[in-house]
Chain length 222, copies 2
DNA sequence: ATATAATGTGACCACCTGGTCACATGACCA
DNA sequence: TGGTCATGTGACCAGGTGGTCACATTATAT
């Protein structure tokens, strides 16, 4: 946690520091981020920095907190009340919120990407330990409920689907910002819908005759 | 490229250096990897290192070359002759080869993960620029051919599917090594098959009556 | 045995890192 | 005005970085 001296700082100064920190953590993963650059870019003295934060990590966690809070603002009512909606509607909203968040706050998204890489960095494990329980605990029951409702195939591996959807949630943001960096809203929506459709219906041609269905698993005598 | 002095080195010494380098790049991303640690762990003098390699980057690219070559060995005949097989058979083999490679060479896989994170690091962009053309150029036509053959839905976005499959190829390795670090062969095969099944058929319950099919895209008046 | 070339070596370089600390500055109060 | 206390400051620290270089060692060839 930042020290009181930081909290009591004039808004302009506090903002300057915060902005410089976000820039730095967006440009470099935690280990490579430089306190020297941050203080230089925010126009404060090195010594002052350590009166505001106990650590580089202290600052980093503070920034992550800002990001998390802003991210929550992007969760639509649909996601907050997931039980009242179709499963695919919920994850569609989730994907969309991710894409929109990344477009509205590209620097925040960059920070997130930097921490999501380096998964074996100690700092990641700390964050993960804190955040995972909530995210996973919230989502798995959602899938189970979707199965109960008959929206999702009953033979699905819940853990695996959970993992895959989480992975897709990241990939789709990457994909959208890659094919259309300016990210027109409609393009993103179309991409998300296409993703959802793939997830929902699969990519197999449904018109195809199912002659050779049995040997779906071949070449491995396990 | 390593200098001749490195190529001409006695096998034991060359191996010691290579091993130490792999360990280092598996433990740290390129920027944080330390030449000092590498020379210490391989028992050579700092000066000697720079007679073998021009750079830290030179060594890194050498190691990446080793990994790429070993990875190629894991590509089954099915992948080498993709046109002769069903599309889903090909990507099944691809996923499997990825999982098996990661199990057989965990350090290599760790190096790969470290470079796949830090996507904005200069070193990544260099590698990507070199490797992407081949990987993408090879795979996209495969999807197109699958569509022509009627194996895959014709209304699919080829670019997106390509992206998604590439992303899944990474996620599934992560998933497999997470649920079963020792990675029994059968477990991995089952997981891959489950993934393929999801990709193929989607997660929607096919038995469900398609009453509310039309309003699949709702809540966005785009 | 001697000259020459190739290779091994670690002290050293400039630079950067996160973090500290003695001191300067300034605000507030008596 | 003088005293007290919170805040601002940058020189400084130990330690690490990638990379160099003058020199020692070894191998080769004459």
């Amino acid at each position: 946690m930042p020290r009181d001296t930081f909290i009591n700082l004039p808004d302009a100064k506090r903002k300057a520091i915060t902005e410089a920190a976000i820039d730095e953590f967006a440009a470099y993963p935690f280990e490579q981020a430089s306190v020297n650059r941050i203080v230089a870019n925010s126009g404060i003295a090195k010594g002052s920095f350590y009166q505001y934060f106990v650590d580089k990590e202290d600052l980093f966690l503070y920034v992550m907190g800002l990001i998390a809070q802003e991210k929550i603002n992007y969760l639509s009512p649909v996601i907050r009340n997931p039980d009242e909606h179709d499963f695919f509607t919920v994850i569609r909203e989730m994907f969309l919120s991710g894409v929109q968040f990344a477009r509205a706050h590209p620097r925040y998204a960059a920070v997130g990407r930097n921490v999501l890489g380096n998964k074996q960095a100690p700092i990641y494990r700390e964050l993960q330990a804190a955040a995972r329980p909530t995210s996973f605990a919230l989502f798995e029951p959602l899938i189970e409920k979707a199965v109960d409702r008959g929206e999702v195939r009953a033979d699905i591996d819940v853990g695996m689907l959970n993992y895959m959807i989480a992975a897709m949630n990241v990939s789709i943001v990457e994909y959208c910002s890659e094919i259309d960096p300016q990210s027109i809203y409609e393009t993103a929506t179309e991409s998300v819908d296409a993703f959802i459709d793939l997830l929902k219906n699969g990519i197999r041609n449904p018109d195809r005759l199912v002659e050779e269905q049995p040997p779906a698993r071949l070449s491995a005598e396990s």
